[in-house]
């Protein structure tokens, strides 16, 4: 998927407005999809035991929480990192 983002951005700026907008939207959709693949990859490892006839409610809750907590962690680390940079005089 990362390859797609790259080849799409090399097209940008060369076409007309309509194409540019189209590519921007498609790129965002592709990034969204790539992110879901990544979330599903590790949340599956964390939450799903033996596959059965359906996802039980405990597993469903775990998967939903997994996404939200991952984003929380990502935001927390980003903020803390920014603070550390500021304290050390910025870069």
């Amino acid at each position: 998927m990362a390859d797609y983002g790259d080849s799409l951005s090399s097209l940008e700026g060369k076409g007309d407005k309509e194409l540019q907008e189209f590519l921007m939207v498609e790129k965002q959709k592709a990034q969204f999809n790539a992110q879901i693949h990544e979330f599903n990859d590790f949340c599956w490892e964390k939450c799903v035991e033996k596959p059965s006839n359906k996802l039980d409610s405990k597993t469903e809750t775990c998967l939903t929480n997994c996404v939200d907590r991952f984003i929380d962690v990502s935001l927390l680390i980003t903020n803390r990192f920014a603070q550390l940079l500021q304290k050390s005089g910025g870069m």
């Binding site: 797609y4 060369k14 969204f32 790539a34 949340c43 596959p51 997994c66």
Partner: protein
């Protein structure tokens, strides 16, 4: 990539369709690769001389559950994006 700005309307439509299709194919391939990897791990504990019926059943269920999980996570992620947007 020269001359993209001089494409006719029909050529542009064709180009956009191709881009969409290629993205869809790449997405499906990614999903297939992931499902194969994850479900092999879950269902085949000791690879034998053939896939026995319980392994095949497990693989089928695992594939359905992986896609359930994909849809659930997609919903959770877009909900979160919406919540973050409304907070800004």
């Amino acid at each position: 990539m020269e001359g993209l700005s001089s494409l006719s309307g029909a050529q542009k439509d064709e180009l956009m369709d191709q881009v969409k299709q290629q993205i869809a194919v790449a997405n499906a391939q990614e999903l297939l690769t992931k499902i194969t990897e994850k479900c092999f791990k879950k269902c085949i504990s000791k690879p034998g001389t053939s896939l026995d019926s319980s392994e095949q059943k497990c693989i089928a269920m695992c594939m359905d559950r992986y896609m359930d999980s994909w849809n659930l996570i997609s919903k959770a992620y877009s909900n979160r994006i919406q919540r973050e947007r409304s907070r800004m």
